[in-house]
Structure formats: structure tokens, C-alpha cells
Amino acid sequence: MSSRKKVLLKVIILGDSGVGKTSLMNQFVNKKFSNQYKATIGADFLTKEVIVDDRIVTMQIWDTAGQERFQSLGVAFYRGADCCVLVFDVTAPNTFKSLESWRDEFLIQASPRDPDHFPFVILGNKVDLDNRAVSAKRAQQWCQSKNDIPYFETSAKEAVNVELAFQTIARNALAQETEAELYNEFPDQIKLNANDNNRNRDGDNCAC
């Protein structure tokens, strides 16, 4: 495929209110953490150019409000996503338990072409805190059970693993995007192959 073609990767960050979605996005894009960020109302996105395998791609990262009643409006922004990032707070078990329903909700609302192989990435955030309540092992097990979703332990506050996580997000989103393109150009033959590739890569890149 042509490397000159401009690529836009749409990434959606989901998770309960307060897990650190907005902070993670800002840490990745603006390289800073502030405890003056406001709770997200409605939706917003930030863009950032990154290099993935010698290609310059633009990541468009969408952040929405986490409280469940606002989700019915958030779904308007899911469409066309190339990757979905699910975030929980390692100090709040409830936010971990919610991952399943965030994932299901996304798959229903965004209805990606191939839900079984749509790229997700899980981030267990706030590892800088010492009142940890969800173990890395428990999180990893869950990720493995869901088709080997890549899992990262992050701290938006102390910029731990944020860069690495978003590199993986970008790579998997790009794979998804490329696959989607191929699919559109050659509807039938390519599909199965591309899926297989995508899956292998997901597995390799698991950083835990």
C-alpha cells in the first residue's frame, strides 16, 4: 500500500468516570499531567502524529464522559473507530468489573465489521498509587480470556507506560485500518488472511 497516503486512526477511550481517560490522553498528546483537568462533559478529541513502522499516521483520540447515563449520547462518536482503549483504575475494583460491559456496549454500538477481531487495548491506570486493589495477574487473565487483548499498566500521573501503550494502540489501529482498506478494495479474498495477521500481532505485542 502507498506510504504517501495520509492515514487517520480513530481511537476511542472508554471506561468508568474517573479512571483517568482524559489524563491518559493528555499525557500521551501533550506530555503533561494536571490535577486541574475537568470532568469530561459531552465528547472531545485530540490528535497526534506518530510514526508506526516508518509511516507517519495521525491518531485521533476520542474521550467521552464516563457516567453510564451519558453513554447513549456517546455512541454517536464510536462510528468508524479503528481501535478501542478500555481503561480501569487499579485501585477501584468496580471499574475493572465494568470492562466487560464497556466492551460489549462498544461492539454493539460501533458494530465493527469483524467484532471477534476488532482491536481493543486494556489499560490498568493509576499504578502510582499504593492502595492497589486489582492485581496485574487478575487483569491479565481477563485479557487473555478475551482473545488476548493487549494489557498495559499505566500511570497518567507519572507517565508510566503511556507512550508504549499508545504505540501499540496505533499499531493495532493501523492494522485494522489497513485491513479495512484491503477489504474495501478486494471484498472477498483478502479478508481471512488479514484477520489472521492482525490476531498474531495482537498476541505478540502484549506488554505484560
Partner: protein, 637 residues
């Protein structure tokens, strides 16, 4: 289908346009006692189809609504009043009727607009100004614009304020008649469209503005109707209409734009909105004025008057803590100083007993009470990220952040069904900043929440409804922008979600949001005025959004980035201007009337009378005036 009841009543006398608050300053041949009285300036159509400018004193209208059991009755609808008269009038009424001033349009020679667009003079004989009127509310712009639809004018070379009538009654009588005969709102709609089409076909194309506005009225509703309902397989009818209109309206390029599309919307008739009046903002309600408004025991009797003042200019910062308590229904307007002291005492006790309810939950209780725990942690998370950059809430262990938390937790006990929803901490922050006091802030917050509780519904029905209503208002007021948004997948107006949820809290500085909120709390000049604020902001961004061909993402980004870059006074003034434009639009639909909480064309006139009687006012006469002013969209200063 929305339609006016005017069309289907046998009475031919019709008011085509009315403007309230017009003072008769001079009138040749009238006794001085008739002058300087306030009334309503209208353009009316007589039963023979001729039209005239008519000024009617207000006391006549007062009598009208007082005497419903008389044999004659007055049917009031917004902007269109009609009457059925018979011989049995009271003598008062007859006397008042004698004071009506009439200027037949056919005789009108010149008119002149002076004194900052607030004065209008009319002449039917060269060299003499027979009538002078003074527009107390707003100005004569809309009236002149309307008048120009009926008479062809030219400006004189020496005096730019004087208009010479070159042709009066420019619409053809025949055309008028054919519309009446169409009886458009009772027949099968498809037939009506066809007969409309064939009638229109036969008309010469030198259609005047008047004829056009009439047509728009009808065609618009027909199209809107079909647009919503689908054509039940008869789409070709509307296409035929579109084609015909394309041909016949090409002469009116300024007012119509016709676009072809494979979808249902084959034609867009740019509604003929009257020009937008520019209404300057007033000065804030001052301490002196506020004190002057209270009687010796502290009661505020001129409630409507106070609200009008606040609507116009807001409240001076130093008296905000006092005035907001009334605006947010913590203190009733008519309570005396001693009553207020009792209220404070009672409300303080009530607050602390609710606070105690959650304060006394022990840690062990909490560990078995997940719902409570979740709410508490949600509140905690949000207060910790509420306006922390403002000095009042800045820094670690800030006691004001704790106050936010306590008030919101107590609100959870006050309204457990609703609980805490994101956005509430934003709503509370300016109140606490201003009032400083926990109890006052709580009750004012509770009062504010009364007004916007539906924003926080579990099913978000209230928000969805508002987004829909906003889209409908925008379609009517700024159709080209609404069309652009729809074409970019943004017709759902989601990008305005933040504006609506917390009433623009995130878009303005603290001092500006205080101004905006106090204006909105007055409930003037109509329901859902905050939606017109949205329309005003979007209207100012229209050129950028359209000319740069912004899509879904860019629209959202652009709108989000407007935060802290908006001029509150300009927006308030524009929103009010848009409101007046809508009110005087000849094609105003019931859909819009319902959103703005004004009576629909089909409404029972008695409802309106009851409304004005229940107005919370001391003085009878201004009371009526206010009610009417409000209904007609003119705010009394």
C-alpha cells in the same frame, strides 16, 4: 399540519401584523386627551380585502378581555387578532373604538422613520404629517420591513429617513382571493397541493412579496408536513410543486433557494424572516433600584418588573447574593423581612438534618452499602476536578472543595432518586463562590436543579428533547446552517451537549456565567430562551462552519474550542433579536410556538386571559400589559 385559524373563520377582518407598545404622539384632528396613550400598531386587512395601518389604544384591548360574556368577542392569537363584532357594545367600548386611528394603505403617500428608529410618521397628503407614533419597545424596523411588503417604496434623495410610496397595495386581489377559495387546511392535502400548484401556475410571475409570504406560509407547511411524514408514495406531487416553484420564484432569488437532491428535501424555501432588530443590553439592576423595589417590610411586589430589569441588564454583583435567592425560589418574592428570617431558620434546620443523615453512616455501614459508596466516590472524584484553577477552589485540602462535596452529598439525600450526576458540581461551583455559605448555596442549588433536573434524567430524555428542539429552532431561524449541519451528520446537535447540560458553564468565565444565568432564570422573554442562546452562538459561527465546509469532527472541535472566547453581551443581544425575529415571522409554526411556550394559533383564547389574570402582579393595568408584552415578545423596560 400547522396552520393559523385565521383562514377558516368567516370573518374577513384580519390582523396581519401587530406591534405592541406604540405611543400615539400626534394625530391631526384628535383631541389632546387622545394623545400620548399607548396602544398597538397593526397592519390589518378589511373584509373587502383593502388594508390599512391601524392604531388601537390599549384600554380598548383591556375592555376586550374583560368582557368575554358580551355578544362580541375578541379572539387573540399571537400576532393575529380577529374579532367578531355585533351591535351590542358597551359605551366604553364604543368610545375607545372611536379613538382608533386608521390609515388606509391605498392613501398612504409617505412615511418617515426618525429618532433612532423609534418614531414613525405617516402622511396621506403631501406636506403634512398626519400621524406620529413612538415605538416604546425596540424600534420601528420590523414594522417598516413588514410595511414594505405591502407598499412599494422609494427613498427620497434628500432625506434618507423618508419613504415615498410609489405603489400601494401591490399584491393582486385575484391572487389573494384564490388562496381564500383554496380552503387549504380542510381539504385532502394532496388535492390542495395540486390546486395550489395549478392556481400558482396561472398567476403571472410578477408575484409580490406579499403574495410570496402568503405562499411560503402554505407551501412551507405543506413541505414540512411531507418532509416529516413522507409522501405516502406520492412524492411526485412535491416534486411537481418544487419544479413549479423553481420556475415561478426565480424572480425572488434573495428569498428563496432551491436545491435539488435525490432525497426527500427537494426544495428549501428560505423563510422570509423579518430583519433582526439589534437590541442593546441594559445596565445591571443597581442596589438603589433593588432597595427601592422593596416595600417597608421588604416585600417585592413588582415581580414582573424586577424580572424585566434583570433580563435586560442582569444584576449588580454586590446584590447578587440577595437577588439570586429570589430568582432561585429560595425566598418567595413577597416575603417580608421577618418571614425571610423564619424561612432561613427552617431551611437551615432542614439542611442540617439531611446532612446528618449521610454523615451518620458509619464506615462499616458503608462497606455494606455499595450504592451509597459509589455515589460518594463519584461526587468525590468530581469535586476534585471542579474549577480547581480558580483561586476559590485551588490548592490541596481546600475547604471550599469539601463544601462542594458536603452540599452535593446532602443533595443526594434530598433527591435520592436523581442522585449525583456529572455536571452538577459545575452547576454548584459558581453558586458557592458567590454565596459563600453552605446552606444558602444548597437551597439555591436545589432551586436551580428544579429548573434543569430533566438534563440529568437517567434516560437522558430531557437532553434529547432539547437537542431536538434546538435543531428545530435552528432550522427555522438559520436554515442554511441547519442544512449544512444535517449534511455533515451533525443534525443531532450533539456538539451542543455540553452547552445544554450545564447551561454554558464550561463556555464562560465565572463573571460571565453569573450574568448569563441570572438572565436565564427570569424565564423571559419566553420558555427555552437558552436554546436561542445556542442559536445565537451558532449563528455567529455560521460563516466559518459553512465556508470552511467543516465536517462532523471539525464542527465538534470548533464548538468545543469556542469556550472562553464568547462575548456574553453580544450573545444575549443577538438571542433577543432572534426571538423578536421569530415572533414577527409571518410563517411562524406551531412547532416553534410550542418550544417557546407561546400559545399556538389553534389555542383557546380563554387560556390566555386566564394566564394574564393569574399573573403575579399588584397593579392591574401594567399586569395585563406585561402579560401581553411577553406574549407578543416585547419586553417592557
Amino acid at each position: 399540519m400547522s396552520c393559523s385559524s385565521t383562514e377558516d373563520l368567516p370573518d374577513q377582518y384580519k390582523e396581519l401584523f401587530t406591534q405592541d407598545g406604540v405611543l400615539l404622539k400626534a394625530c391631526i384632528g384628535r383631541p389632546i386627551s387622545d394623545l400620548n396613550s399607548i396602544g398597538m400598531l397593526c397592519v390589518v386587512q378589511n373584509s373587502d380585502g383593502t388594508k390599512c395601518i391601524e392604531w388601537r389604544p390599549n384600554d380598548l384591548i383591556t375592555i376586550d378581555s374583560d368582557t368575554q360574556d358580551q355578544e362580541w368577542a375578541v379572539v387573540n392569537t399571537i400576532g393575529r387578532r380577529q374579532r367578531t363584532l355585533s351591535g351590542n357594545m358597551t359605551s366604553d367600548y364604543a368610545a375607545a373604538r372611536a379613538r382608533i386611528v386608521r390609515i388606509p394603505l391605498a392613501e398612504l403617500k409617505t412615511f418617515k422613520v426618525t429618532r433612532n428608529n423609534q418614531q414613525m410618521q405617516f402622511s396621506t397628503k403631501s406636506g403634512v404629517w398626519q400621524n406620529t407614533f413612538y415605538f416604546q419597545h425596540g424600534n420601528a424596523e420590523i414594522f417598516v420591513a413588514y410595511l414594505k411588503n405591502h407598499v412599494k417604496t422609494a427613498k427620497t434623495r434628500h432625506d434618507r429617513n423618508t419613504y415615498v410610496v410609489v405603489e400601494s397595495n401591490i399584491d393582486s386581489q385575484a391572487l389573494n382571493k384564490s388562496f381564500t377559495e383554496l380552503d387549504i387546511f380542510t381539504e385532502n392535502t394532496t388535492d390542495v397541493v395540486w390546486s395550489l400548484v395549478s392556481n400558482f401556475k396561472q398567476r403571472p410571475y410578477e408575484t409580490t412579496m406579499e403574495a410570496f409570504s402568503k405562499l411560503t406560509d402554505i407551501v412551507w407547511s405543506v413541505l414540512v408536513y411531507y418532509g416529516n411524514e413522507g409522501l405516502n408514495g406520492k412524492r411526485d406531487v412535491s416534486e411537481e410543486v418544487a419544479d413549479l416553484l423553481t420556475k415561478s420564484m426565480s424572480a425572488l432569488e434573495d428569498t428563496t433557494s432551491i436545491t435539488k437532491s435525490d432525497e426527500y428535501e427537494v426544495i428549501t424555501v428560505k423563510p422570509t424572516l423579518p430583519p433582526r432588530p439589534c437590541i442593546p443590553r441594559g445596565t445591571p439592576l443597581s442596589t438603589e433600584k433593588w432597595e427601592g423595589l422593596q416595600d417597608t417590610e421588604g416585600r417585592i411586589l413588582e415581580v414582573e418588573g424586577v424580572k424585566q430589569l434583570i433580563f435586560r441588564g442582569g444584576v449588580a454583583h454586590s446584590i447578587r447574593p440577595a437577588v439570586w435567592k429570589y430568582l432561585l425560589d429560595y425566598y418567595p418574592w413577597r416575603s417580608t423581612h421577618s418571614e425571610i428570617r423564619k424561612i432561613q431558620k427552617r431551611k437551615t434546620e432542614e439542611y442540617f438534618s439531611m446532612k446528618l443523615q449521610w454523615r451518620s453512616i458509619t464506615e462499616r455501614q458503608e462497606s455494606r452499602f455499595s450504592e451509597y459508596r459509589e455515589r460518594k466516590s463519584l461526587v468525590e472524584k468530581d469535586v476534585n476536578r471542579t474549577d480547581r484553577s480558580h483561586p476559590f477552589f485551588a490548592g490541596d485540602n481546600n475547604p471550599n472543595v469539601l463544601l462542594l462535596q458536603d452540599i452535593l452529598m446532602t443533595y443526594v439525600m434530598y433527591n435520592f432518586d436523581l442522585g449525583y450526576v456529572q455536571g452538577m458540581s459545575d452547576v454548584l461551583a459558581p453558586l458557592l463562590l458567590l454565596l459563600g455559605n453552605e446552606v444558602d448555596s444548597f437551597w439555591c442549588f436545589a432551586g436551580f436543579m428544579e429548573k434543569i433536573a430533566s438534563n440529568f434524567d437517567m434516560d437522558q430524555a430531557g437532553m434529547k428533547q432539547q437537542l431536538l428542539n434546538l435543531q428545530q429552532l435552528l432550522t427555522f431561524a438559520v436554515p442554511d446552517l441547519a442544512k449544512h449541519l444535517a449534511s455533515k451528520d451533525s443534525g443531532n446537535m450533539y456538539f451542543c451537549f455540553r452547552w445544554l447540560l450545564v447551561w454554558f458553564k464550561r463556555e464562560f468565565s465565572f463573571s460571565d456565567i453569573m450574568r448569563l444565568w441570572e438572565v436565564l432564570w427570569t424565564g423571559l422573554p419566553c420558555a427555552n430562551f437558552h436554546l436561542l442562546i445556542c442559536v445565537a452562538i451558532l449563528d455567529a459561527e455560521k460563516d466559518v462552519l459553512i465556508s470552511k465546509d467543516y465536517g462532523f469532527n471539525e464542527i465538534l472541535k470548533h464548538v468545543n474550542d469556542l469556550s472562553m472566547c464568547l462575548d456574553i453581551d453580544k450573545i444575549l443581544s443577538t438571542a433577543e433579536g432572534i426571538y423578536h425575529q421569530l415572533m414577527s415571522a409571518p410563517h411562524l409554526t406551531d412547532q416553534i410556538r410550542i418550544i417557546l411556550g407561546i400559545p399556538t394559533a389553534a389555542n383557546n383564547p380563554n387560556d390566555r386571559n386566564e394566564e394574564s389574570e393569574s399573573e403575579d402582579l399588584g397593579d392591574e393595568e401594567p399586569g395585563r400589559e406585561n402579560a401581553r408584552n411577553q406574549a407578543n415578545g416585547y419586553t417592557r423596560i
